[in-house]
Amino acid sequence: MMMPPMEETRMDAREAGLILGRLPTGPLNAITDVKDVRVGHVTLSRGDVQTGVTVVLPHEEEAEKALFYYGCHVLNGHGEATGIQVLEDFGMMSAPVFLTNVMAVGRVYNGGITFGYGRDKGLPTDGGWPPIVMSIDDRYLNDLRARAVTEQHALEAVGKAMGGVVDSGSVGAGTGAVAFGFKGGIGTSSKRIDLDASTTHVGMITLANHGQREELVIDGVPVGKKWKDSPFADHKYRGAVGVVATDAPMSPRQLNQLAQRAVAGWQRTGGLLDSITTAMVVAFSTGIRLESTNEVREHRLEFVPESRISAFYRAAAEAAEESVINALFRATTVTGRDGRVAQAVPIDTLMKVIKTHK
């Protein structure tokens, strides 16, 4: 095994000069460009334990009973997404979306229950339930069987959740992730769309733990195939899970489409086709906030008209694509269980390969 370099320069793809897609990004180029969205991470990195929890919340702290429209798309459901019956049947909920490792789902879910009681004592009657928990298998670097994640870590992640700059790379649920033979992890991106007089965003956060080295495609360049000289992590339990959010008002059906386009964006960078590769995206819109009460008989809703929706679908695909590359560009080398190493992708070398090809 190679020793990790002493110092690694990490940056977003754009900072490295790689401009993917054609839509402009939001100010942070992060999912938190979407109004009210908060992200929190808990990172567990000590020896054989390389894992964590990431949470995405669709609301500000004071939004106790608000409900939002949700959607999802499952390319491969070989994995878990709790809360799926409410999500698919109602398309309306208020759940935090937790990302963690595949063996921590129960405990993180239990943390979500505790969080739900904090919001609403009538747990399943209102916004605090059910928690959505999606997971990846990070056993290449992480000792899954140590079961290091606890309920408390889920609550801690919620406590740390905030808007603004999102930590990415080898953090939170991405701590032990491996993607395309390199160190994977959390990546984020956003796209700006002006809808009449208002500025809206589509933001994506991806937990990238998928892809084999030779599958990696960046900006149409099959860089994975051209790569010869680095050690690669041969991770067999691959998968990606993610969240696409928008502050444009969208219906559950539109949000299903948005999630579907996010998966399409993921596929621009390769991978995700194996039978046991998890690939699913949850979508929500903070653009409509409902309170379901007995006093309200009807809701007058305004959604993005179909004549304008394509730009949002494109934005989801572009943000998803860029979030995967940002995960690779942000992730730092991690040495995990049994001394295994997943190297950070060498950005300089990678950019040379791309430039040579272009």
Partner: protein
């Protein structure tokens, strides 16, 4: 034989019931009215030898973990656990502990299973206190056996109410005649759904007739029923999905309208194939056979719901609220009045 899901050979049921304390609700203390019911899909190792599975979500205000994986693969790879809403994470985690004990390579050289845990809202007790422990779940698994199944306020049904009466676990089965394949269909439900006025038994408006009986204790906004069907008829996942829809018809015969707040989620599995990583052959019934199986499913589902009601005795819940069991004497005279008996 037992008029239970265990009539499907190899299907075992176990449970643990947690009842303690009385009086005012004190979070973390009690009263405790909860539990876990576990259905072991076959007597072997279901993680190694998976079964075909199907689902139907009649109304989605509920949770059944493992749904996404099982729907994708069409296989069931863990026991099925029924419990209270707040316990889901704990039971899920404990199920994983059990599966690791049974399969020591999980997470090392084997994939990590996604346990099936389904909930109803057992608000008769201290839900927030989450009084189920990992050991309770492991104990429930240890008690699993074939034969007669305890019904009513036991296991995952301990704190449940249905149609304004005390309810919980109910089960029933049907066996097709030999010329129809001789297959068995068994259903087990955790009934926590419906308002009093809706209840109908064999077409008799029992709920309307019993509106005056005691103080009605409705389930609040969150009413749910989880229905589990097992059959030894070999079936493909698509056929099991179709079977699952028929459970809704059995439920409807008891008067349910599947209210907005209800988590009416159904799962069915077939013991007719053991599926391993290298399985190539699959046995399935011809579609000309399925209508009689649907009939068996509808009847078993209907009767399982009614058994949940008739088996559950009156119980006191938090804040000294009494949840009346359906009065069997009144029920008999009603059925006589409507000439069903």
């Amino acid at each position: 034989m037992y008029n239970a899901i265990t009539d499907v050979r190899g299907v075992w049921v176990g449970y643990c019931t947690k009842i303690s304390g009385s009086g005012k609700l004190r979070v973390g203390v009690g009263p405790v009215r909860t539990g876990v019911t576990v259905i072991m899909p076959h007597e072997g190792n279901v993680f190694e030898e998976k079964l075909a599975v199907g689902h139907f979500v009649l109304n989605g205000n509920g949770e059944m973990t493992g749904f996404v994986r099982d729907r994708e693969t069409g296989t069931l790879e863990t026991p099925i656990f029924l419990t209270g809403t707040a316990n889901v994470g704990i039971v899920y985690d404990a199920a994983l502990t059990y599966l690791i004990q049974q399969n020591p390579n999980i997470g090392i050289s084997e994939s990590v299973p996604v346990p099936v845990v389904a909930e109803c809202w057992d608000a008769m007790g201290d839900t927030e206190g989450r009084h189920i422990t990992e050991q309770d779940v492991l104990d429930a698994i240890k008690t699993a056996s074939g034969g007669p199944v305890a019904e009513g306020a036991v296991g995952g049904g301990t704190g449940m109410r249905s149609y304004g009466f005390k309810a919980g676990i109910g089960t029933s089965s049907r066996i097709l005649p030999e010329e129809r394949g001789g297959y068995t269909v068994g259903v087990l439900v955790n009934a926590n759904h419906g308002s009093r006025h809706l209840l109908r038994i064999d077409g008799v408006p029992v709920g309307e007739e019993l509106l005056d009986y005691s103080e009605k204790r409705e389930s609040g906004k969150s009413k749910s029923i989880i229905m589990v069907a097992a059959t030894d008829a070999p079936m493909l996942p698509v056929q099991l999905q179709r079977l699952c829809k028929r459970l809704a018809l059995g439920l409807a015969r008891t008067g349910s309208v599947s209210t907005h707040g209800s988590g009416d989620i159904f799962i069915s599995f077939s013991t007719g194939n053991r599926i391993t990583k290298n399985s190539k052959e699959f046995l399935c019934v011809d579609d000309s056979m399925v209508s009689r199986l649907w009939e068996a499913a509808v009847e078993s589902a209907e009767e399982a719901v009614l058994n949940a009601l008739t088996s559950a005795p009156t119980m006191e819940g938090k804040d000294r609220r009494i949840y009346e069991g359906i009065p069997l004497d009144r029920l008999v005279s009603l059925m006589q009045k409507y000439k069903r008996l």
